[in-house]
Amino acid sequence: MKVLIPGGLRSYTERSSVEVQGATLGAALAELDRLYPGIRFRIIDEQDRIRRHIRIFVNGAQARDLALSLRQSDEVVIVQALSGG
């Protein structure tokens, strides 16, 4: 599936979108981290929670659970939410 990468994480991927596989959101992010080591911890904490200023959308709907099932045709968008100052 296609994963859109925000600007703050392109130092890992060096591109704005990447292709990964995974039956769940958690599996897709694990695959993303395998391809780009370190990227997952910047968006998911050690308790498997999506970080406070990160949002993840699947086909336009906000995803809140890493157990969310995915299909290979889905589009995942990782967004840096508001964090000013």
């Binding site: 703050g8 911890f41 910047r42 308790q47 970080r51 990160i54 840096q80 939410a81 964090s83 100052g85």
Partner: protein, 396 residues
């Protein structure tokens, strides 16, 4: 982890070599928006800026490993992204991210788990333990790396000990942007003899390489109305061990300036001899590399609502040459009035030259040098982001 004693271990005062070095002093400035390296010339008169590194990252600490003179570690995060540690083995020319940054253990199902918001403090380990580093985090946690900062693990039982969990409090307790574990110190004579401090939770000592710690509270004041026997109510801001006498520690605390001389585990308040109109509240404290009677502080306004500015808008360093019996104001060259910045706990340091150079970075983004042990101050850089930490380095 069993600590190992230095082959030259001794409980006596150590002779620290006087500093005659061909290596120039480099200042490592960590700021709210990135990091800068300022390389001084041999006379420490002109400084060349190298940066920003990690532009946009909140960098809490940037530290050189003095054991190899080339490895730098930077504790960083951004407003959006989780925390990490960057590592350079070529004096900052290139950086690589830690493979496993400091992170708490995964909580059991149904239990609330802690997540590191930022790594706040970095300490390179003992010279007999190459590759060992320690890190303190917010929320408060103690971590160790055995491979030069590439991978990190929770260190010692304190992160999960029931008493320590109670004393640490939660992310909501303590310092406005989260309670910090800081001032991780080891005895240069004995790598098993460790200290750390918590901005909410007191100063703690281990004699067994971190397998156990105990608080050192005797002699310390707490805010009126609270129980001084409870570590939760103790707020050390900065603790330093004297390199020339590892039995002597100084502490700048929420309630004053203190000194402790082993074997007594009792803090003595030495800040009462500060001028009353200035007081003895502040964050940073620096010790002389070769004289255990000399230390410097940067007082701030800790009255009423805690403005955390220079008292009366007149910044000054205060230095003692007699272990805290008397203090001298050192403000030549600093703004005489209407300067409302202050200096954070990691943002003041000293080099090891003779005479010692003092340095501090301000909340307004200025980097200052106190030549001749603070007698004359001059500004090295202006217009930087808010400065969180300043360390000195000498590259190999």
């Amino acid at each position: 982890m069993a600590g190992k004693k230095s082959k030259t271990a001794s409980r006596k005062t150590q002779a620290v070599p006087r500093a005659k070095s061909a290596r120039n002093v480099v200042l490592l400035a960590a700021t709210r928006k990135g990091a800068w390296l300022f390389s001084g010339d041999a006379a420490r008169r002109t400084w060349r800026a190298d940066g920003p590194h990690f532009l946009g990252h909140v960098v809490s600490h940037l530290v050189l490993d003095p054991r190899d003179g080339r490895t730098l570690l930077a504790a960083a995060k951004t407003g959006h992204l989780g925390p990490t540690v960057f590592r350079s083995t070529d004096k900052g020319r290139s950086w690589k991210e830690a493979v496993r940054p400091p992170a708490f253990a995964k909580a059991a199902a149904g239990e609330p788990g802690r997540a590191v918001d930022h790594t706040f403090w970095l300490t390179p380990g003992h010279r007999d333990e190459p590759g060992v580093w320690y890190a303190g985090t917010s929320p408060q946690g103690l971590f160790r790396s055995g491979d030069g900062g590439v991978s990190w693990d929770p260190f010692s039982p304190v992160n999960d000990d029931a008493n320590y969990r109670k004393w640490m409090g939660t992310a909501q307790d303590g310092t406005p942007d989260g309670p910090k574990l800081h001032s991780i110190i080891f005895d240069p004579r004995d790598s098993a003899h460790l200290y750390f401090a918590m901005s909410g939770g007191g100063v703690h000592e281990s004699m067994d390489g971190g397998r156990s710690f105990r608080p050192i509270l005797q002699g310390l004041d707490v805010v009126e109305g609270f129980d001084r026997a409870d570590p939760s109510f103790h707020d050390p801001h900065c603790v330093r061990l004297c390199p020339s006498n590892p039995d002597r520690l100084y502490q700048q605390n929420h309630c004053g300036i203190y000194r402790m001389d082993l074997p007594a585990r009792e803090w003595v308040r030495i800040g009462k001899s500060m001028p009353k109109r200035v007081g003895d509240i502040g964050f940073p404290l620096v010790v002389h590399p070769r004289d255990d009677n000399t230390a410097w502080v940067f007082p701030m306004d800790g009255t009423t609502v805690w403005p955390r500015t220079s008292p009366e808008g007149k910044p000054a360093v205060y230095g003692t040459r007699n272990g805290g019996k008397t203090w001298r104001r050192l403000d030549a060259g600093l703004p005489a009035k209407q300067a409302w910045w202050t200096v954070k706990r990691q943002a003041m340091t000293a080099d090891a030259r003779d005479p010692v150079g003092l340095y501090f970075g301000t909340t307004s983004g200025e980097l200052w040098m106190g030549r001749d042990e603070g007698r004359r101050w001059s500004c090295i850089a202006r217009h930087l982001p808010e400065i969180y930490a300043v360390e000195t380095a000498e590259f190999a």
